[in-house]
Amino acid sequence: MSPTKGAVEMQENLKAILQNALQEVSKSTDMNQLEVCRVKYLGKKGELTVFLRSMGDLPPEDRPLMGKLVNEAKDRIEGLLSQQKEVILRAQREERLKEEEIDITIPGKRLLRGKKHPLTKTLDEIKRIFMGLGFSVVEGPEVEWAYYNFTALNIPENHPARDVQDTFYITDDIVLRTHTSPDEPRTMEKTKPPIRVIIPGRVYRSDDVDATHSPVFHQVEGLVVDEGITLGDLKGTFDLFVKQLFGEHIETKFRPSHFPFTEPSAEIDATCFVCGGKGCRVCKDTGWIELSGAGMTHPKVLERCGIDPQRYSGFAFGMGLDRLTNMKYGIDDMRLLFENDIRFLRQF
């Protein structure tokens, strides 16, 4: 059975409508145009809606086929509409994103953060290294008994170190500690071996202020007391520390020296950090920098603290934190550390 003539005509009309609709939809570039298209073809008075209504004029046998065709046309238009909608939205989003482009070279919004003082930074590093070696941190008073500052350290009554030129006195018996060493006997009196401590702290000497001197400065002391501690252990421990703080390429050199509270005593030099040992202004062309005074704890010091020097031995070392910090960061004037210009503090 072939369609009636009227049906054929209607099919042609439908094709034309579909054709137009598809063309118009795909040409739409914004949502308004798309809506206009939708209304024009699928709205209540839209062309396809009107066409559907006109189907009543068809002979009943033609209706199912025509109905199917109309529905297909409707589906295609709707499909294309939603497809085109996606296209338009995507294009709009692209455009918006393009518009939103910013100048990424404009500086970031920086949140303020302060910094620790360079002395603290260096000390934190030193503490970290020694804690890894089983050392604890102890601290003592800055205003100290002359007994702990001198006598307990085997520095006799008439020793030049006690001179008022070097030491600030509060009373005849109380001084501003001239080193962190008084906390060695303090620790040994309180703690029985094994002892492994570092003692950081602020110390005072009667020096006028200049680029390399300050009446206030800082030391880090180390003390180990146990059975069988040797000079070799001092060497091994300090070498390990220096390599961790300044790098594996730094060597240490121990030479005999003298301190009243250690025997044997040593002065410890390290490869100059500035020139790597080639010789420069900082190391006075020697390639070495003096880093620490050290030695085996003097038996009289042990004895005075109630530690039997026949059974126990120990070593101690002391170094200048300020000097170490200055070397580490290349700071050439000690006064900068205490002036606290924020442009200085910001750099650490």
Binding site: M131, G134, N158, D233, D341
Partner: protein, 796 residues
């Protein structure tokens, strides 16, 4: 101490370059500070081999030498008769420069060209003292064979190096040429020698010249040795001696004085020469000075002395200050005929105190202060008179007066080789140790690992086994001791609570934009006026330094505010727009004055900010800090403090205790520190934070039921503190008030005079159920009612 190397070589055979010598000595404890070059300038002087000597055709007394100088043969005219063909001699080439600046040029002598000059020892400024007689005269004939053309300075070792040593205080025995020679000998394992003392001829007897010598203070003068030299001829000392003195840093004066200095440098024993005719009664008394006793010292200055000073006196007046300086009256002059030579040992501490008080320092006092071994006195005196005789400065009088009440005893130390090995961390035999110690002039018996050691008396530093260990370690070489890792009990490295908290506080404050500062712990008492503290304020009671660097550094600080303000001021006055700083440091609070016990060192946090900041930005930081430390029960209370703005200051209260104070600096205080802007600052006690802080963290479950948020704005009197309103809201709302946020405080348009609008956002939540609008309405109504009752607050 300056040591001319050629002088050192008189007493020890050194066969290495100076740099190696210096390094070796440094590594064994005799530290070299510097190597100085005191060499004369010599250039273009080379070794020449004499090929032929022939007579000069035009002059009887001259000879023509044909000399191979390596690359050519030169014709040189000479008057010297000691040169033969085959000799190697120093040749100054055309253009050569000799010591003293003399320049050598090719010239004609009696018609024959001389293309250079043969040199004598004198012309090369060689140390004649160290040469044999035949080398001193005529052209210097080199020993052995040398390649012609070689630089003469290399062949003859003409360099004059001077080593500057830094001798540690325990080794006064090294403060001399001989001491260093002894040390070098031990370290380098080469022989060292002492000068041989030989006095050829003596006259008379010392007792006919000197009436007597008395030591009244044997505690201060351990030994006094005197010798006399008669028929003195004062003249300059010889060149070689002058050269050595200059190289060692001393000024030549005349033969007698120079010899005393020379022997001091050589032996370490300071000597003094008196004009015996000027010593009243020809008698020496070593005594304490009388109160305000006067004398004029060698430098022409009048000194006023006291009982704490030791003097060398004649029968009436002082002729010298012991160990420090001689008197002008008895000084050696051109007219001196008889010399009394003093070689004495004085108490170092006493010399130090006297020198310090008089501001007198010299090579002699330096040695006394370090400790001169009394055993040296006689040797040094004899060495000096020997030189005086040798140089023809006078005739030595027979006899020595030697007052030595208590001779120094030698010490004995017993120690096992095992103990020494265990202290150092090495493993060497008792025999090896014995050998090392013997090189240091110790007498050692080694028996079954036990070392029995007799220590020479000049080593006053050695007392116990550890001292022996040091000697072994340094001769073994510290650098040869293996680096080891400690054995023994394992200990864990721990931080104390205080440290952990300090670390945390620093982290938090840095995170809040503050920079850590470090400032001096002492300051001027004047800061209290700058801080507007009244006369009787407790912070004015301070720990005072007896000998400060100056008034500005004379008290230990009792507040950190002044240091903080100083730093803020430095930054502000350098044009920095804003800064936020903190410091954690102790304040020193005396427990009583004068101090009988150590002061309380109260660790304190100080804060200071200026710039785009206000009271609330400081307060906010403190709140964050306290929150971070898990301190719960804190509040801020209006407070008064003379250093702060009267209306912008708060106490930080934790529990019931005042932990600190924060606020705006009083404008007069800011002004006193030259800060022309608003400054906010504070101080908080560290230990109170430590007590209140909680290190434990316990999680609380997230809320199960939704919250309701209501905003209210009320009108209250302007004076009403919002803190009180918040308290009332929380009180009324009870535990249903989860969060309370002040979002607006407003005065101005639409607000009646004397009133302000305060707006809160209140978040309500129940732990048991979902709150509904009715709940919220009821609670807000209750809150508004109570605000009305308490503050007359009206809803806007």
């Amino acid at each position: 101490m300056l040591v001319p190397v050629n002088w050192l070589k008189d007493y020890v055979d050194i066969d290495m370059d100076v740099k190696t010598l210096a390094d070796t000595l440094t590594m064994s404890g005799t530290k070299v500070e510097l190597i100085l070059d005191a060499s004369q300038e010599i250039s273009n002087v080379v070794v020449g081999k004499v090929i032929e000597m022939k007579p000069h055709p035009n002059a009887d007394r001259l000879l023509i030498a044909m000399v191979d100088v390596g690359d050519r043969v030169l014709q040189i005219i000479t008057g010297a008769q000691n040169v033969k063909a085959g000799h190697y001699v120093p040749i100054a080439l055309d253009g050569a420069v000799l010591p003293g600046g003399m320049e050598i040029k090719t010239s004609k002598m009696r018609g024959e060209e001389s293309q250079g000059m043969m040199c004598s020892a004198l012309e090369l400024a060689m140390d004649l003292n160290s040469l044999s007689e035949d080398k001193k005269e005529g052209i210097y004939i080199l020993d052995g064979e040398h390649a012609p053309g070689t630089d003469i300075t290399k062949v003859l070792n003409l360099e004059e190096k001077v080593i500057e040593f830094e001798i540690t205080t325990n080794r006064p025995d090294c403060l001399s040429i001989i001491g260093i020679a002894r040390e070098a000998g031990a370290v380098l394992k080469v022989p060292y020698r002492k000068p041989v003392i030989e006095i050829r001829k003596t006259k008379g007897n010392i007792n006919d010249y000197v009436k007597g010598i008395t030591i009244e203070e044997p505690e201060l003068c351990y030994r006094y040795v005197a010798r006399v030299i008669d028929n003195i001829k004062i003249e300059p000392s010889p060149q070689w001696m002058q050269k050595r003195l200059i190289q060692a840093g001393m000024r030549p004066i005349n033969n007698i004085v120079d010899i005393t200095n020379y022997v001091m440098l050589e032996t370490g024993q300071p000597l003094h020469a008196f004009d015996l005719d000027k010593v009243g009664g020809r008698e020496i008394i070593v005594r304490r000075a009388k109160d305000r006793e006067e004398m004029v010292t060698l430098d022409g200055k009048k000194r006023i002395l006291g009982a704490e000073d030791l003097v060398i006196a004649d029968e009436q007046v002082p002729v010298g200050i012991a160990g420090a300086m001689g008197g002008e009256f008895s000084e050696i002059t051109r007219g001196t005929r008889t010399v009394l030579l003093e070689s004495a040992s004085f108490n170092g501490y006493n010399v130090r105190m006297t020198c310090k008080r008089l501001g007198l320092w010299s090579e002699a006092s330096f040695r006394f202060v370090r400790g001169v071994y009394p055993g040296l006195a006689e040797t040094a005196a004899n060495r000096a008179v020997m030189l005086m005789e040798q140089l023809g400065a006078g005739e030595v009088v027979e006899g020595v007066i030697d007052i030595y009440p208590e001779p120094v005893k030698t010490k004995h130390v017993e120690v096992s080789s095992d103990r020494i090995n265990r202290l150092i961390g090495i493993d060497i035999t008792a025999e090896e140790m014995k050998d090392m110690l013997e090189r240091l002039e110790m007498a050692v018996k080694a028996d079954n690992g036990m070392l029995s050691i007799t220590v020479p008396a000049f080593r006053q530093d050695i007392e116990v086994d550890y001292d022996i260990a040091e000697e072994i370690a340094r001769l073994y070489g510290y650098n040869n001791v293996p680096k080891t890792i400690m054995e023994g009990s394992w200990v864990q490295g721990k931080k104390t609570l205080k440290e952990k908290l300090e670390d945390q506080i620093k982290d938090v404050l840095c995170g809040l934009g503050l920079y850590e500062i470090q400032t001096y712990s002492f300051e001027s008492p004047g800061v209290f006026d700058k801080l507007r503290l009244p006369e009787e304020h407790h912070l004015r009671r301070t720990v005072e330094i007896k000998n400060p660097l100056g008034e500005e550094y004379s008290i230990m600080r009792t507040t950190l505010l002044s240091s903080m303000l100083n730093v803020l001021s430095i930054n502000y006055n350098r044009g920095i727009k804003g800064a936020g700083l903190y410091e954690i440091a102790p304040r020193f609070i005396p427990r009583e004055i004068p101090l009988k016990q150590l002061p309380d060192e109260k660790l304190t946090i100080s804060l200071g900010i200026y710039g785009d900041e206000d009271f609330y930005s400081l307060k906010g930081r403190v709140e964050v800090l306290l929150d971070e430390l898990k301190i719960r029960d804190y509040s801020f209370r209006r407070a008064q403090h003379p250093s702060y703005h009267p209306g912008r200051t708060a106490e930080v209260v934790i529990g019931e205790e005042v932990a600190g104070i924060i606020g705006e600096a009083h404008p007069d205080v800011a002004k006193a520190y030259q800060i022309d802007t608003r400054v906010y600052m504070g101080e908080i006690d560290f230990s109170l934070l430590m007590e209140a802080s909680q290190s434990e963290i316990k999680y609380s479950p997230l809320p199960k039921y939704p919250a309701i948020t209501r905003d209210i704005a009320v009108l209250v009197d302007k004076e009403t503190e919002v803190g009180r309103i918040a308290e009332a809201i929380e009180e009324t709302g009870g535990e249903l008030v989860e969060k309370l946020e002040l979002f607006d405080v407003y005065t101005g348009k639409q607000i009646p005079d004397g009133k302000k609008s305060v707006a809160y956002s209140i978040t309500l939540r129940s732990k048991e159920r979902t709150l509904v609008d009715e709940d919220a309405n009821r609670i807000v109504k209750d809150i508004l009612d109570s605000l009305m009752d308490l503050f007359g607050a009206k809803l806007r």
